[in-house]
Symmetry: C2
Subunit: 322 residues, 2 copies
């Protein structure tokens, strides 16, 4: 069988046909143009699926279903896109009904962080360990995805696993969600950059400040890492603090879920072993009774294709078997 994976973003929409091994057969993308009506966006998706099927030389009837990762709230049971900040016209949009009517194919939709966790679990860093898997995406925010017994777990009303919105520092840094001291406020790329800007401002003799060409706005996550790699004391302080907060939050998640595999994705995870090696050491002190015998922490491997492969894997995980 063939599976369609659609990765919806505020600027672009990627679509791929994927086989049961999670391999991409064909893929393409088009600009979202998020200001136009949601129905037009859906129509473009349907056209793209038809085009890709032709390209791959298959019929729509060879397709088991369409999987979709959406950057916001969804209603998987109704197949509805409910709400996303960057996609204002996709509000309460009956995408499932549309795809069934237009292409005769079932739609499986979920939040993009959940879909990424499923994809990494089945075909990426998780290597099939989906009995209990937690994926943390360290990007603008912290995305949380939890797989239990092969299925996405998202709470009773599908609004759970907001893993980044758990307080680790009471009365700490303000968070975008309105609370103070959330893990996201410290361990997202945004949190890293905020801390680096503060440090650069305080240390005009630092390499970090020099690399920024004396403009705090130029500092991004990668620059902090690069400066730390060149042993800039200011950047190292920022990175050490960042790792400490990250270990505390990951320790919390481990103590709660005790997953088979804990996967890190998102921009910051690009540091690979420079992130994992110190993190493994720090986490030994954070895991319940220091028992790290089951601790298995890995970097996501699907990269740019995580979205479409994850979305396609949603069809595989959710379609009725037999």
């Amino acid at each position: 069988m063939i599976y369609v994976g659609i990765d919806i973003g505020g600027t672009g929409i990627k679509t791929a046909l994927v086989n049961e091994k999670g391999e991409i057969l064909v893929k393409d993308s088009f600009p979202t143009r998020a200001e136009r009506p949601g129905e037009e966006i859906l129509a473009d998706m349907a056209d793209m699926i038809r085009k890709l099927a032709k390209e791959a030389g298959i019929e729509l009837t060879d397709i088991a279903g369409i999987g979709m990762g959406f950057p916001g709230l969804v209603d998987p049971e109704k197949g509805e896109l409910v709400y996303a900040v960057n996609l204002p016209t996709c509000r309460n949009l009956a995408a499932g009904e549309y795809m069934q009517k237009t292409l005769g194919l079932p739609l499986y939709v979920d939040n993009d962080a959940n879909v990424a966790a499923l994809g990494e679990g089945l075909f990426g860093a998780g290597q099939g360990n989906t009995r209990c898997l937690v994926m943390i995406t360290l990007g603008t925010g912290i995305g949380g995805g939890v797989i239990i017994n092969g299925h996405i777990f998202a709470g009773a009303y599908h609004g759970g696993t907001e893993l980044g919105h758990t307080v680790i520092v009471e009365n700490g840094e303000p968070c975008s969600c309105g609370r103070r001291g959330c893990w996201e406020a410290y361990s997202s790329a945004t949190g890293l950059i905020r801390a680096a800007r503060r440090e650069a401002q305080l240390t005009p003799d630092s390499l970090l400040w020099e690399m920024s060409r004396h403009d705090l706005d130029n500092i991004d996550g990668k620059m902090v890492g690069d400066a730390a790699d060149r042993n800039d004391p200011a950047a190292c302080r920022v990175m050490d603090e960042y790792l400490r907060h990250l270990a505390v939050g990951l320790g919390n998640m481990y103590n709660i879920f005790q997953p088979e595999v804990l996967i890190l994705g998102g921009g910051v995870s690009g540091r690979g072993d420079k992130l994992l090696t110190p993190l493994r050491e720090l986490m030994a002190g954070e895991v319940y009774h220091n028992d790290i015998s089951h601790l298995d922490i890995r970097i996501a491997t699907l990269g740019n294709d995580a979205g479409v492969i994850g979305a396609a894997s949603l069809v595989m995980a959710e379609e009725p078997r037999g």
Copy 2:
């Protein structure tokens, strides 16, 4: 069918026969005498089951299975009692094998906090809402129990849902687990008492200090509540702080699990509405995007029978159907 529920503690072991409605038919208990060999303790349990069956006028063949709540680590798949601080002789004890051999009945065993959550979910405060349910037991420590799709969730290796061992105050109070700032260090009864003793020491004119008869060791959780109810400013400060920490931790759990029902049990939950009313108000500020539309927080209702009913419900949840 009839179900056996056994609630093992360090001092006593309660046993009950329970019907499919969660009603207790007969019950009895005996002292654990924890220093004797584990096999002797198991033999007493088997004798007690035979005695209760006789009392209820049923045969062993009328019994579907034995459920057991154990105050420590277990291996549910092997039916083994692995480790509990208060039961040193029950280490790696093959209880399931013993019961199968001695009574011809299958044993289902789990941690007591998990078992309590299942019991409250099926027959207590949860009223059947076991699609996603979280129970927090506020006692000497914080016990966490999570039910997902009608079954206990405890992580990949059955050592998860250590919900109390999640840091809410980085570098905060030392916790029994070795970390600092765990939720348990603040929101357990132990945490409440520690804070009250500090406050009483600082306020020799307080009612709290007077009620303790000028001995910090006399202060317990109930005394703090009683003094707060009589508007003692010192006790009110302690209780307000306690509620604030509790709300932060419960907010974290809500954002992670988004349960249908969040149940509070244990000694502190005895305060009932005096606990729930301020807590509901505080939690509005802790729940993701202040969306409390699904927030349903309740006090446990099974009381002293929670252990045996919960243990019996384990058989109902885990026995193969059909």
